[in-house]
Symmetry: D3
Subunit: 249 residues, 6 copies
């Protein structure tokens, strides 16, 4: 199985962080194909950036979808997920979606934590978008500045552990989800210190991809996720334009 790991951020180090985490749980026959956004932002952290980053996800998929059996949108918040799912023939899964669905099988309500409060509204809207509000115990975040996005996991590990510990008690959450690409792999480091299951979003997405590939559910030819009819466009990146115009075979 070949799984595309699409990082909508342009930071190659974040891709690596996620790839390492992903490979730790991938099944023996699974190959993770990492792709870093060729343009966009070092790290998406607002609705506007997600709007643009989500459009770039579609370009990335247009370029690479033939190389994978499934694809992961590897930014918490799942930018571009719905459009990608509609447009391409392979399963496309978001890392926040995958983490939340896995968490649903481990407890009543999950808690999402982030290293910065900037992400809260976007994450909360992501929970609502997936219709999982009743299964979410909240989104909690650290206040205050941080150094570099690629080092923040080390920098804040202790504070995140404290935040998680107190918020779990306060909210009765049954599962913890560390949100955001920069926290990829954190679950493995902290799970032994926490009293509830911890789900790594990238790892969850890999396993969900493997699951969907094995289930062979097929692509819709009707309903709301069938591929849209061919549509011309002007001024778009050529790959996505060709795919939307059904010019790419």
């Amino acid at each position: 199985m070949r799984i595309l790991l699409l990082n909508p951020n342009t930071t190659e180090d974040l891709t690596q962080l996620m790839v390492q985490s992903a490979r730790r749980t991938a099944a023996p026959g699974t190959t993770i194909l990492p792709i870093t956004a060729p343009r966009g932002f070092p790290y998406i952290s607002s609705r506007a950036e997600a709007q643009i980053g989500g459009a770039i996800v579609l370009e990335m998929l247009a370029a690479h979808h033939r190389d994978g059996d499934a694809a992961i949108v590897a930014a918490f918040g799942d930018p571009g997920l719905r459009g990608a799912r509609e447009l391409f023939g392979i399963p496309v899964i978001g890392i926040s979606e995958a983490a939340m669905l896995a968490a649903c099988m481990l407890g009543r309500r999950f808690l999402i934590i982030s290293f910065t409060s900037v992400m809260r509204p976007w994450y909360e809207e992501c929970v609502e978008m997936h219709g999982l509000g009743s299964r979410c115990a909240g989104v909690r975040a650290l206040e205050g500045a941080f150094g570099s996005i690629t080092q923040v996991q080390e920098e804040k590990e202790e504070l995140l552990l404290q935040l998680a510990t107190s918020a779990i008690m306060e909210t009765q959450a049954d599962v913890l989800i560390p949100g955001g690409a920069p926290l990829a792999g954190l679950a493995d480091k902290i799970k032994a210190k926490l009293p509830v299951p911890v789900v790594d979003p990238t790892q969850a997405a890999v396993k969900m991809c493997e699951a969907l590939i094995a289930l062979k559910p097929g692509k819709a030819t009707t309903g709301t996720y069938r591929r849209p009819a061919a549509k011309p466009s002007f001024g778009l990146e050529e790959g996505i334009a060709a795919h939307i115009a059904h010019r790419d075979g």
Copy 2:
């Protein structure tokens, strides 16, 4: 007052259709400044196209936001609305949002109609995004093909009237909203033939812009809609890149 009417579609004729409708209800001192998407799709009709079109809306606003006191995202489904609202200092209003909120003051539940069933899932998700599900009696659409997007209003007027009439009875809807840029101005033609109030989305958006401009509510400097901190980017259209980087003054 200067109101930017941003058409995320590239079809200039649709812009004109909306401008004409808009000007009929604009207050004496209001100037409508129409802007047609410089790139993108002739007519957005899927989630993927809305993802891309929404990103283009941000570029259009980056180029023109200084010229307006408020802006309208003039595609039903409100592509890019949340990001736009977050990013710019002027009020930004979507035409579907404006129509639904106006309809809330006219009855218990509103009905949205479209000339093509292709739009249904996107419109339904738009209703949910605004948290107005309990006020919506449904989204109904004509089945079958249509000729040109700019002529569909004339072509389907009679069928839309029939659809609206029967759906109003069936759903007990109190208000009708003809959805989609190609139906701009239809409300004025059919309202006399229908037994419930009819709201034109573009017109509603103009009046809501005038309202917000007059209310001078101010731009958030905290909360989830404050302007995000400056962020570098790579490979984006220069105007939006500059605005997001706070390089545009």
Copy 3:
């Protein structure tokens, strides 16, 4: 445009407070026609008082609806709104409804503040009645007594500002709504000191009236807000009895 500003309270000074606020944002051609309840309570502050005050609103409209192009129910909580909307041919808008809908265009969730906790349950039930629970970050109120209803705005301005400031941070609210007729005009005084947009309910209602008048949506002749069939009555105030009996032309 002539807009009836119906104060369901009998306190003329509150009417004046709202009229002054209303006129500051009314469009050039708009005339505000203030009408104070001829009977009832100095200030409605319970469900029972709202039940009675709402019935008096209907009497006020029966007497004056021919003089206006639209009407405002000018008590936060919108007493009598649904009945009024059903009964009369002109648009009728509540000040809490108008403020909440305007706030929906300015952020994700709004916060309502009051000068007294007595109003909380009524306000909360008003939010639910409008189906806007998912857009409301809460209703917060000052504890403790206050002097006169017409002076409470000055008396409590500082405390309300503190309450708003801390509650905005705590709830992540994006918009502030100062609730209640006695706080009319407060928004203009405090908005510069607050980090999120502030909406004045009376002003919002004026602009929403202007919007609906311009949109000319028409009065329903079917659905749940058509005018009810003629009905006799006994022992009611003559004007409303005549209107309900269709005896008033």
Copy 4:
């Protein structure tokens, strides 16, 4: 136990219809004290009429609350219920509320039927007001005119039976509630012909009153249903004015 049966309609014959139904299920020691609205409408059937009728309910309670251990608001839709519950020291129960709560103990979802579609929106808003939307399978009503309000039960019995039978199958409802004072007692006539339990609203209210009287829960002195502080008024019916002003002992 003395239970006030307050008919907010002025039609004495409807009061008698409900009293007969009520007495069939009242416990041996229970006395039903019927009171017909001294002013108002022969039969409330719109939101506006409910607004006024609900205010009259408060007057009726101000006059009679000392004579009862509990009171029933005997119009489906529960006009004035919240205000009455707040204002008086005895339990006050609405017939629609009582029927719905009883139905909750008999099945998953209940179906409400009415002899006229005019009542549908008001009944639906009543279900929402009580937060029981997820337990309601719908409100169904006969179309078409009817003769006299006091004879409609006989006139439409067969049609109501047909409506109920088909709607139960269609909606999977587990319980049937015949809504509206004119249908009081119908349950006893039709229950043998229907495949699900049928609840008579007036009877349910009597039993719920007996239950609350026996439970002696006490009147709130804090919270949202404590008695409001004394309030002066002008131009109201003397009894309710005195009670609201705390002038009635």
Copy 5:
């Protein structure tokens, strides 16, 4: 009337506690028939124990349903309620259900308290199961260990009173429900010290049984609560096996 009071716990002293409370409010002609679980747990306090205890409730009913006109499932959380309601011809009511429905007639939202936080998730899921989430102000519980289950009411009375008092203020709850068989009768001891109505679950269930018996709603022969078709089984307790197989007459 004969009401079966089925204690799904094996602790006879808890049955007695509930019987005493029940008899204080039972009507003159009502006989309470207490039945203690012949097998199972001294006190159900987890989802797993409720799963098993609920199955035992069905066995208890199979053995005794002919002796009662209605039955009470006398454990807060209502184990086995849905199955019992489906399976037997008499009304079956849970004590938490009865308490919550009674509380709905006394205020906007009720608060449930427990002597141990172990019960919280089960109680919360019970509120959701009944679709009453919007009427519940929360479930609060004491932390810390307790002595014997039959003495915990005395042991913790003072702490429960403190918990209730502060939580009522904090949540604006209008009604208090002391949850759990071990707190049966507590309402009568503490209601005079609390500022809102207090509902005893066992007492509420008795009164609701009396109500349903008097209403004679009948047993469904269609819909989701009709008696299931005869079904063979293997290895089950003989009484329930016979009833499910329709072998018991």
Copy 6:
């Protein structure tokens, strides 16, 4: 990986049907260990039977949980799932839960079909229990009798295909889930004939087990799904009694 496939029904042929379906998608290193209920019903099809069958699931797990790395509750409706998840150290997943969560990654809303309408209420309550109501387009079922439970899949294949085809169009569902153990494997036969993805519940559960085993989330030691404290019992099957009493090591 060893996955316990626990069939709460006593029909060995159903177990085989599910095992065959399961093995088709299991990963190379996965062993499916089938266990058929040693007592209970040939086929659970009511709430009461699910109550008892769910208790038997706990007994089956007590006997076998040490032999598996995860366990599947292999009856649509997920009897006993919450208790099992609470009680045992390995992940426990229900087949309806797994199918619904997988479906969430394939479209907006899923449709569940059944070969008999008897299952509808139980399935609908299962959807609600998981908080997935907004993702479900409905539960549809064939009317009419069927022959044997183990042959019903062949007998009704054509009718189920017709039901699915029409219901998908009518409800706009994006994904189809054939519900119930007797339909295990049907997805593979019909998916080529249907225009939307089809998810086999047993297969989905296998893949979700593999996912959770790989993710190693750990067992909660706090929160609502920690293992309950040791509890004595009387008269229960020895294995489950020992596990609940912490007597099983």
